[in-house]
């Protein structure tokens, strides 16, 4: 061993270690910008990941169809019955009609805001391994007009923000991440709050809203939208309230939000690349 420590090999290994330390420090200083060596490796590996994702999706769909065909047939029958029952309820209940009207209004918000500039549909090309906060990578980057911290949506609601940016792809952090805070508002009572999540709620696919006024009228089932900021445009659906509880200090309340988006199942997203009031 002593001979090894004095050998040329050992000196070469020390040099390699120093190089890797240097790269790591460079990456740390670069922050959210993807550094050149990483960009090269990702570019080389991306075709394999894209092909692997396609194979994985096809295999899981095929297996799912084969294994669960009977279950889906039964579920289909059951859903048909439920649908018939629901149609009856919709006709009978004015309340349901009013709620539907509210949903239609919210869904129309995007059309009303002509100032929103949307990206073309972005495909989810990879997921972060072992990420409890469901982060993922999309196939559009700065070349497509996307910038850091642009908000990301699906047709059913807010997903998160662009947290890392490259020319050809971007990494998205979801609203499950503690790093993403969103100002939100209940559509029914106009109660405002801020998402401030942690691992415990993220593990259940939920999101914690903090700083909710003690006097607010907010309850289970309330629809929550973005309240608007320099990062997130206003009135975009985030989810629904699952439960509300008082903070330990007794001054404010917390609400547990069930996001409208299932982060583990999305395949396509849209990025809002510009809107009035966005931080330049």
């Amino acid at each position: 061993m002593k001979e090894f420590l004095h050998s040329v090999k050992f000196k070469i290994i020390i040099c390699i270690f120093a190089l890797v330390f240097g790269i790591m420090i460079y990456a740390a200083i670069a922050g959210d910008n993807i550094i050149f060596p990483r960009s090269i490796l990702e570019t080389i590996a991306q075709p394999f990941v894209t092909a692997g994702k396609a194979v994985s999706d096809w295999t899981s769909n095929t297996i799912d169809t084969l294994v669960n065909a009977g279950k889906y047939r039964e579920e289909n029958e059951r859903l048909k019955e439920m649908l018939t029952e629901m149609y009856g309820q919709i006709i009978d209940k004015e309340k349901t009609d009013a709620e539907n009207e509210q949903y239609r209004t919210i869904l129309g918000i995007a059309e009303e805001h002509n100032d929103y500039k949307w990206s073309s549909p972005c495909s989810v090309i990879a997921r972060n391994a072992g990420d409890i906060y469901a982060g993922f990578t999309i196939d559009k980057g700065s070349r497509d007009g996307i910038a850091l911290y642009d908000p990301v949506f699906t047709s059913v609601g807010l997903v998160g923000v662009v947290s890392e940016l490259s020319e050809h792809y971007s990494v998205v952090k979801t609203i499950l991440s503690p790093d993403v805070s969103v100002g939100v508002m209940s559509t029914a009572s106009k109660t405002v709050g801020v998402t401030e999540n942690d691992a415990e709620y993220a593990a259940e696919g939920l999101c914690l809203i903090s700083y909710v006024s003690k006097s607010s009228i907010i309850g289970e089932g309330d629809t929550v939208v973005t309240s608007g900021s320099s990062v997130f445009p206003e009135n975009m659906i985030v989810g629904t309230i699952k439960r509300v509880f008082d903070d330990k200090n007794g001054l404010t309340r917390h609400a547990v939000l069930e996001p409208s988006v299932d982060f583990y199942k999305i395949s396509y997203v849209f990025v809002v690349i510009g809107f009035n009031g966005q931080e330049e």
Binding site: H6, K9, V20, R127, N128, I132, D198, A203
Partner: protein, 197 residues
């Protein structure tokens, strides 16, 4: 008693071809394992396939080769897991170089020794992940992070390790040079020379 790099005979055309094919296979294996880590089919039980791959290759190769291969393995792990670029590379390089040194000086290449080295690599990687990405940031409910992601991934990585070892061993037996456990660093090269004379 002087440490010297062992002199080798020039490689024949077949040996050169075998070596190229072997490294082609190892690179493909790394890309395949990286892909498996990124498609998300294992959810929270995601094995970090690259860790046992670098450990296995390190056991069959020289220190510098092990160091470089572990460095790339670490970089790919960092990209797949969203860690700071170079973070895993440092730990995997350390384990790779130590594994190669151990095989050349102290232990033999077999499944038991491989599992011990692989386990050490898994412990190094995941404990450093917990320390630098969870603990020092005082992440709330860090126990949930351990139970829901770190521990399942560590267990599944150890479980898949033997399969990775046998794959690497198969490639090494068919295409590798039989140089493992034959290099002796304390070999008195100068004395041998004088004896030959």
């Amino acid at each position: 008693m002087k440490y010297r790099l062992p002199l080798r005979d020039p490689l024949s055309r077949t040996e050169k071809r075998n070596r190229a094919v072997k490294w082609g296979i190892f690179i493909l294996m790394m890309l395949l394992f990286y892909t498996l880590m990124r498609v998300g089919i294992f959810n929270r039980w995601q094995p970090y396939f690259i860790i046992p791959l670098t450990a296995a290759v390190a056991m069959f190769e020289s220190e510098i080769t092990a160091c470089i291969f572990s460095m790339f393995g670490g970089f790919m792990t960092d990209i797949a897991c969203g860690y700071l670029f170079g973070f895993s590379a440092v730990w995997l390089m350390t384990v790779g170089v130590l594994a190669s040194l151990l095989v050349r000086n102290l232990i033999r290449v077999n499944i038991v020794n491989f599992m011990l080295i692989s386990f050490a690599a898994v412990v190094a990687e995941f404990s450093m992940d917990y320390l630098f990405n969870v603990f020092i940031w005082n992440v709330k409910h860090s126990d949930v992070v351990i139970m829901m992601t770190i521990l399942p991934s560590a267990i599944s990585t150890v479980v898949v390790s033997p399969a990775v070892y046998y794959l690497v061993r198969m490639v090494e037996r068919r295409l590798g040079e039989e140089n493992v456990n034959v290099v002796n660093y304390t070999e008195p090269v100068t004395e041998e020379k004088s004896e030959e004379e």
